[in-house]
Amino acid sequence: MTQTRIQPRPRTPQSDADASTISGGGPTTAMRVIVPLQGVVQGRGGLVLGSVIPCALFYLLQFYLKRRHRPGPTPTTPPPTLPEAAEGSPPPVHRVQTRSTISPRGSNGQAHVSYRANSIAKQIDTPYYIGLKKASVDPYDEENNPDGFFQLGLAENLLCVDLVQDWIVANAKNSIVGGDLSISGIATYQPSDGLMELKVAVAGFMSRVMERSASFIPSQMILTAGAASAIEMLSFCLADAGNAFLVPSPYSPEDIKWRTGVEIIPVPCRSTDGFSLSITALDRAFTQAKKRGLKVCGIIISNPSNPVGNLLNRETLYSLLDFATENNIHIISNEILAGYSCESEEFVSLVEIIDSEDFDRNRVHIVYGLSKDLSLIGVGMGVIYSFNENVLSASKKLTRFASISAPTQHLLISMLSDTNFVDKFIKTNRERLHRICSEFVVGLKRLGIECVKSNAGFYCWADMRWLICSYSEKGERKLWDKLLNVAKVNVTPGSSCHCIEPGWFRCCFTMLTEKDIPVVMERIAKVSEVCKSHS
């Protein structure tokens, strides 16, 4: 919990709409009116009426809202129209409407591009992506580029890259091709959801990393080319386009909505609660969604949470399961950072709870990945772990769109089966992470910046509310901008994480070395001193 006494004020509806356009998540203000109407009409008039009437109303509402909006773009809002739409046609819709003209051809004769593509184009201007790009193009290097950017927006774990490198240099050649394994063994078509040997190795690894909180059955696993694929696939299996998931906010900036058409309903967590999830808030969000005619298919939680780093304890997990059972919905638990709980609190996997109690297993699905735990950057490997046979069967078919390449699978089998390496790695990783985390947090504290006490994860959730000139998203954006362009430190602003309270920033420290930390702090100090003197 933070020391400062600022009362968190929820954002105004207007800035909320702005927030959703910046971060590309959450429904627009317009949708909050349209969606319940669609729900009502669809119930009576069927799909056609259910599409046509809300569409007509939507355009009327658009017209009305356009007049209410602030004239001209502000620093906090991206340009409201896309190049094609600038010629006067209505802006693209964030929903699936099959029969309406959504994005008419631009008058410059360019062939149509889908609304899904347009919604991505809109997001390119969000701070999250701008910052990532800037920092990766001109990265800091102690010798070669001392004025470069520090990348604190990308949650890649570089702390133990040396261990992985050493292992690969010593072992990779034999593990991929060579020995008994000829090219024809790995070149040909493989089961798209991953080799059984890899599933066995991953099951063992997951169990080890979670300190044997649970054991995992390989045949209930689906392997895909990355954790993002895993979550997207689950969304495709559990929800139709236009349905919704409840997600406690703040949550990770990466979006799953683009292709699935699924709505994310943020369930705000507050600094006064240490950003922990309250079932009351969940219930409220669920009821509100229902009133608006949105079908909620499930809850997506991250445990530990991203960006705050909280662990969900047993009671919360039980309450979540009760809630899901009562409302007959799914739970997706993203346990990708499970390997990082500190000694003070124990990590409990949802799988462990399911194992021990009599809950309906068909509604629980875990997502896991290797890139964080094994510093295996760029070796995307995601895991879907489910007890639901239908979900497993559908996901398996979907893996043909995102399978892991065979040589990578063989490399991973080799690596994960090397128990000496794995044990050494996990231990060293934890030590180094703990050290960097403490130093970073202490460094920030010296500047007067407090972080939420995190039990896990690669980031700290930093309280910079007292540094922003106006307690609003605009103020937060200004600070982010200064940090990026003056201090040349890329951090992720809370708005990109859909946080309802302005002034919080996610700082990821796993791409730093201990030597970097004083430099980073010096840079941040430049900005914080200036802000202090202004406030």
Binding site: V96, T98, A111, H112, V113, S114, Y115, A117, I120, A121, I124, L132, S136, P139, V161, Q165, I168, V169, K173, I176, V177, G178, S182, I183, S184, A187, T188, Y189, A225, G226, A228, E232, L238, D240, A241, E254, R259, G261, T325, N328, H330, N362, R363, I377, G378, V379, G380, N390, V391, A394, K397, R400, F401, A402, S405, A406, P407, T408, L411, M511
Partner: protein, 440 residues
């Protein structure tokens, strides 16, 4: 005392329960028969020979040799210092070196007749993902892509399942060797209009699967003119471009764009993959090459859901950049495929079976219509079953490829050894002789 309360079953999405994945069709059912009783030269000489899988195994030895000689570079060993650098890039951009290698490989296949810019290369986990991704980007749910028939059965799943987009067929027939005509294009477009469906593009496979033939340059020009007039997109799936027996017989849509000085090129997108030409489907390497900036940016972002591991990129990048190796590989591969094709066609002709004249790919488009009782889909499937269960060959019926004329079958020849091919041809010969005796 506890009362058994029946738990309400928790719901799944329409996509999860739909059959659009198409895995219940004969195309996939034949594979099941093969899995249950696979042919093996020594251990199961009377098993089912798999001729329904378009996989290229004829040039493995060349790859093996290269990998053995260059194992160091292939793994991360030599580039240890680059490890950290690679880590700082964003996953979905892909390694610059690998994109360069892909671009140069694609240029080499087209013998330099077209140039490819590495910054327009978007990486996906296989061409399956590339086609689906392009569909997500170019069309909204309920819209349609026009696809010439017969087409690859997987398109029904790849283009429609998750995207909600329709396929409206462009009907082609044997009267002109199944080439696309302007009339057929127009008819398909009007058909979509009459169903109130918006057409967003045309998707062609060049060289064609299942025909095993390249598209004539003049036809490509006509297709390009058509999409320009209708202001829609053109997706050219060129995954068999490196498997054309004679390089001069293949014209890529990229070449036509170059000859038109890239005028109006933003509507064109090329799909490529290493699965067929290099015989590496297990590596899951696909690309989208788009001349449209927005499509490139969007596809790149969406490719985060279908990544190629940087380790795989590293492994293949050095190989693809080695122009001496790739030049040699492409030439040898073409030659071996042509030899296989000629063997296949010769053997079939001896058995009294005719094929469409082909010049590319890993398969023949075979005409078995004389065997059909009636010129209907049912008769075709009856023949297919007979061939599967009596002759023990799994071949793909034209109806799975949406061919408008019954009696055509796709028969693959590159996914087996030459000996196995000979066995398959002998079986076909015996089968045909039997038929002559029984009917004669």
């Amino acid at each position: 005392m506890a009362i058994e309360i029946e738990q309400p079953r928790v719901g799944l999405s329409k996509i999860a329960v739909s059959k659009t994945h198409g895995e219940d069709s004969p195309y996939f059912a034949g594979w099941k028969a093969y899995d249950e009783n696979p042919y093996d030269e020594f251990r199961n000489p009377s098993g089912v020979i798999q001729m329904g899988l378009a996989e290229n195994q004829v040039s493995f030895d060349i790859l093996e040799e290269y990998l053995e000689q260059h194992a160091e570079e292939a793994s991360w060993g030599k580039k240890a210092s680059g490890f950290r650098e690679n880590a700082l890039f964003q996953d979905y951009h892909g390694l610059q070196s690998f994109r360069k290698a892909m671009a140069s490989f694609m240029e080499q296949i087209r013998e330099g007749r077209a140039k490819f810019n590495p910054d327009r290369v978007v990486l996906t986990a296989g061409a399956t993902a590339a086609n689906e991704l392009l569909t997500f980007i170019l069309a909204d749910p309920g819209d349609a892509l026009l696809v010439p028939t017969p087409y690859y059965p997987g398109f029904d799943r790849d283009l429609r399942w998750r995207t909600g987009v329709n396929i409206v067929p462009i009907h082609c027939d044997s009267s002109n060797n199944f080439q696309v005509t302007p009339q057929a294009l127009e008819a398909a477009y009007k058909n979509a209009e009459s169903l109130n469906i918006k057409v967003r593009g045309v998707l062609i496979t060049n060289p064609s699967n299942p025909l095993g033939a390249t598209i004539h340059r003049s036809t490509l020009e006509q297709i390009l003119d058509f999409v320009t007039i209708k202001n829609i997109h053109l997706v050219s799936d060129e995954i068999y471009s490196g498997s054309v027996f004679s390089p001069t017989e293949f014209t890529s849509v990229a070449e036509i764009l170059e000859s038109r000085s890239y005028k109006d090129c933003e509507r064109v997108h090329i799909v490529y993959s290493l699965s067929k030409d290099l015989g590496l489907p297990g590596f899951r390497v696909g690309t989208i090459y788009s001349y449209n900036d927005r499509v490139v940016t969007t596809a790149r972002r969406m490719s985060s859901f279908t990544l190629i591991s940087s380790q795989t990129q590293q492994l293949l990048g050095s190989m693809l950049s080695d122009e001496k190796f790739t030049g040699n590989y492409i030439t040898k591969n073409r030659e071996r495929l042509r030899n296989r094709y000629e063997k296949m066609v010769g053997g079939l002709r001896n058995a009294g079976v005719e094929c469409l004249e082909g010049n590319a790919g890993l398969f023949c488009w075979v005409n078995l219509s004389p065997l059909l009782e009636n010129q209907t889909r049912e008769s075709e499937l009856a023949v297919w079953e007979a061939i599967l269960h009596r002759v023990k060959l799994n071949i793909s019926p034209g109806s799975s490829c949406h061919c408008s004329e019954p009696g055509w079958f796709r028969v693959c020849f590159a996914n087996m050894s030459e000996k196995t091919l000979e066995v398959a041809l002998k079986r076909i010969q015996s089968f045909m002789e039997e038929r002559k005796i029984t009917s004669g």
